[in-house]
């Protein structure tokens, strides 16, 4: 008999006033009892809408049934038959718009905590290891595939192909595998040890990861295919160059792109004493984060942890914030101040070329624009100065031209995103692409879905 309680088992979390001073993970995860209790809320629908809401089609009711039975290892096998990175997805997927958004229990009450259960299963596996000996390694099929970029798209594509016996090499520009999972998403949302464990698991299945290699500079896609013998290449090189607003003062000292700020913290661990990488001392300082997406929330929450008073400046209203609801809620709990319906028009410096204040203008919302959101309009004469010591621009990214400019016959769209068909195949035979390099900045799970689709298409093309 299903547990018909209307609300989800709440996620145990660090107290907001404790966690806003440390980088440890915010959400602590379900216990076995909580997981089994939550799993019993699933009705095991005959036609499970949640599965079609998942970009990688995790067999959700099946794995949840195993959790309810206490068979956590069985649940893990079911999840990983379609999802290579469950510990990551369980933490960073926008489940409210995907699986949980489709859950029948959500009509009257709260949906089943699918993401929390996925995380529990993955963490249980990581803590207890594989039951009944190491999983079988696939037999090599002799085909070589190269993957450009070790973010969510690349790792998923590599994992799926390696499990089918392909000889896969992943090239990463940075010194550590993981892409945005290691340089972008903070430790307190996604511990880096978890990312490295997932990478290790792929290496177990035969994936080779080559770091410090910038495809387009160190080696080109043409060379990978013509000289190194790769039969197919998957490009999952990520979003690219951070955008700025083109307002006066953007290159002053103390103005950062969210990418730079987060990379210093997440990849380079600049907040730790033993790191040689510097970061601006924000203790007692005032920081404005410009933008309202998940990256802006990450930058704001990191600034808070470094001791700053933090304002999120966003040109639309609270309702329109593109960040996940949970991220906004966490940010508010941690003491981040939202200055919505405000837009910066200039950053002002002091005599040393450092940020002293940011001039903003108040906004109001007009008619919906092409994106369906109400267009922000400036209120004439409402300019005011916000005294700040640092500004973090979190406005999205534009594609990196490096791969396009060094690969013969690779077509991109007006915005610079690589053009692909429904299989992820580009205009260049044998070259596939997916993730932010195609779509522009999006989510981890969409990138994984694209990596998965391309892996399937590559397998079909090469096994002919």
């Amino acid at each position: 008999m299903a547990n018909m309680r209307l609300d989800k088992n709440p996620m145990p979390a660090q107290d907001p006033n404790v966690r806003n001073k440390n980088f440890d993970e915010v959400a602590l995860g379900y216990t076995e009892e909580m997981a089994i209790d939550e799993a019993k809320r699933c009705l095991n629908c005959k036609n499970p809408k949640c599965v079609s809401g998942c970009p990688v089609n995790v067999r959700i009711p099946e794995f949840i049934t195993r959790v309810a039975e206490g068979d956590f290892d069985g649940a893990f096998q079911i999840i990983t038959s379609t999802n290579s990175l469950p510990a990551i997805c369980g933490r960073v997927c926008p489940q409210e718009n995907q699986c949980e958004g489709q859950c029948i229990r959500g009509i009257k009450g709260e949906s089943v905590g699918i993401g929390r259960l996925e995380r529990f299963v993955a963490d249980y596996h990581n803590a207890h290891g594989h039951q009944g000996g190491a999983p079988a390694k696939p037999e090599s099929n002799g085909h070589k595939v190269a993957v450009v970029g070790s973010g969510p798209a690349g790792l998923t594509c590599a994992g799926d192909l390696a499990r089918k016996g392909y000889d896969v090499t992943v090239y990463e520009a940075l010194h550590l595998a993981g892409g945005v999972l290691v340089y972008g998403i903070p430790e307190f949302r996604l511990p880096k040890a978890i990312v490295q464990k997932e990478v290790k698991r792929l290496e177990y299945f035969g994936v080779k990861v080559v770091t410090n290699t910038v495809v387009g500079r160190t080696i080109t896609i043409d060379e990978l295919m013509e000289e190194e013998g790769f039969e197919a290449v998957f490009v999952g090189s990520g979003a690219g160059l951070p955008m700025f607003m083109n307002i006066p003062g953007e290159n002053l000292k103390g103005v950062f792109s969210a990418n730079e700020f987060l990379t210093r913290i997440n990849l380079m661990k600049a907040y730790r004493e033993d790191s040689d990488t510097p970061i601006m001392d924000l203790k007692g300082k005032k920081v404005a984060v410009v933008g309202g997406g998940n990256v802006a929330m990450d930058a704001a929450r990191c600034s808070k942890r470094l001791g700053a008073e933090v304002w999120v400046v966003y040109r639309r209203g609270m309702e329109e914030l593109p960040a996940r609801h949970e991220e906004v809620e966490h940010a508010i709990e941690e003491g981040i101040i939202f200055k919505t319906l405000n837009n910066p028009i200039a950053i002002n410096g002091d005599e040393n070329g450092a940020v002293a204040s940011m001039t903003c203008i108040e906004m109001e919302l007009g008619e919906p624009d092409a994106s369906g959101r109400r267009r922000p309009i400036e209120k004439v004469g409402s300019e005011f100065d916000l005294p700040v010591d640092a500004v973090i621009m979190s406005l999205g990214t534009s594609p990196n031209p490096l791969i396009k400019s060094t690969t013969k016959g690779l077509e991109v769209n007006k915005k610079g995103g690589i053009i692909v068909n429904e299989d992820g195949l580009t205009s260049r035979p044998g070259v596939y692409a997916g993730g932010d390099a195609v779509t522009g900045a999006a989510t981890v799970i969409l990138a994984m879905g694209a990596g998965k689709q391309a892996a399937k298409a590559i397998d079909e093309a090469l096994s002919k």
Binding site: A173, F256, P401
Partner: protein, 280 residues
């Protein structure tokens, strides 16, 4: 891991490292740079390539021991390994189609000026060189410069070697003597490049500078290396490192580079103290 094949102190604080990095060596061009990390907790620092040997699979850099990371590097010995070494990054210097050029190098910047100068020479240009140093003790690469330039002016700030004074003064003498250059190429401290650009502006000679701003990834992802050039924001790692010296907003660039000066000073002292303790 990347092996140090050769380590040679050109001067006590100016050290040449030849690093085994075959994939980088295969692609390297004058004007490009690499990013290295000395150890697991190390900072990523960009260093412009001095030389490369495609057959041997090595890349040579010349580094002045100036901060925490370069201090740590200077304690590595021949045969030791660097944690990370990635490249070649940036757009190679355009050296084709020039008849007569003047290359201006300042201090350890001469290490980078040399391969550019040699490439200009190999592309058929007549090359003049002006190189400046603090004093006689830190003059480097003089013989190498001499071999590929038809005019070489060595300057020292204190007059202890060559001509006394700044590179801009020596450059101005050449310009006033009527030399018609297609291009001036300057590499060195930002302040030097700024004043070389100011010197050549009245003469209307195209002046290229090799910028070395603060950087992390070196592939365009972080935007830390951005500069204002001709009123537009440019990323040194993907648009550069070479830029039109007459269009760079120098005051902003110089100030931005001071961003972590305090941290650098403390970290350097900390590292020096660590090494002193180890010696004891």
């Amino acid at each position: 891991m990347y092996r140090i094949v050769t380590k040679e102190a050109l001067k006590p604080t100016v050290i040449l490292y030849e690093i085994e990095a075959p994939m980088v060596a295969k692609k390297a061009q004058p004007g490009q740079f690499i990013i290295l990390r000395v150890d697991e907790n190390g900072e990523r620092i960009p260093i412009t390539i001095h030389d490369y040997d495609r057959e041997k699979g090595t890349v040579t850099i010349i580094v002045q021991t100036i901060g925490a990371t370069t201090e740590k590097l200077s304690h590595k010995q021949q045969g030791d390994f660097l944690q990370d070494f990635v490249g070649p990054l940036g757009v190679p210097t355009h050296t084709e189609g020039k008849k007569k050029v003047c290359v201006v190098g300042g201090g350890v910047g001469c290490a980078i000026a040399y391969p550019v100068l040699k490439k200009f020479h190999d592309c058929g240009a007549e090359v003049h060189a002006v190189v400046g140093f603090k004093n006689k003790d830190v003059v480097i690469l003089e013989e190498k410069f001499k071999a590929v330039s038809s005019v070489l002016k060595v300057c020292t700030d204190d007059g202890s070697y060559g001509q006394k004074g700044l590179v801009t003064e020596a450059l101005k003498e050449l310009l006033d003597a009527g030399h018609q250059y297609d291009e001036i190429f300057a590499i060195g401290p930002m302040v030097m490049m700024k004043f070389v650009s100011k010197t050549t502006e009245p003469y209307g000679i195209p002046t290229t500078v090799s910028m070395s701003p603060i950087m992390i990834d070196g592939t365009g992802m972080c935007g830390g290396c951005r500069l204002t050039v001709g009123g537009e924001t440019k990323f040194a790692c993907v648009d550069g490192p070479d830029f039109d010296g007459h269009k760079v907003d120098w005051d902003l660039a110089v100030k931005r580079n001071q961003m972590y000066a305090e941290f650098e000073k403390h970290k350097h002292e900390e590292v020096c103290n660590l090494f002193r303790q180890e010696v004891k």
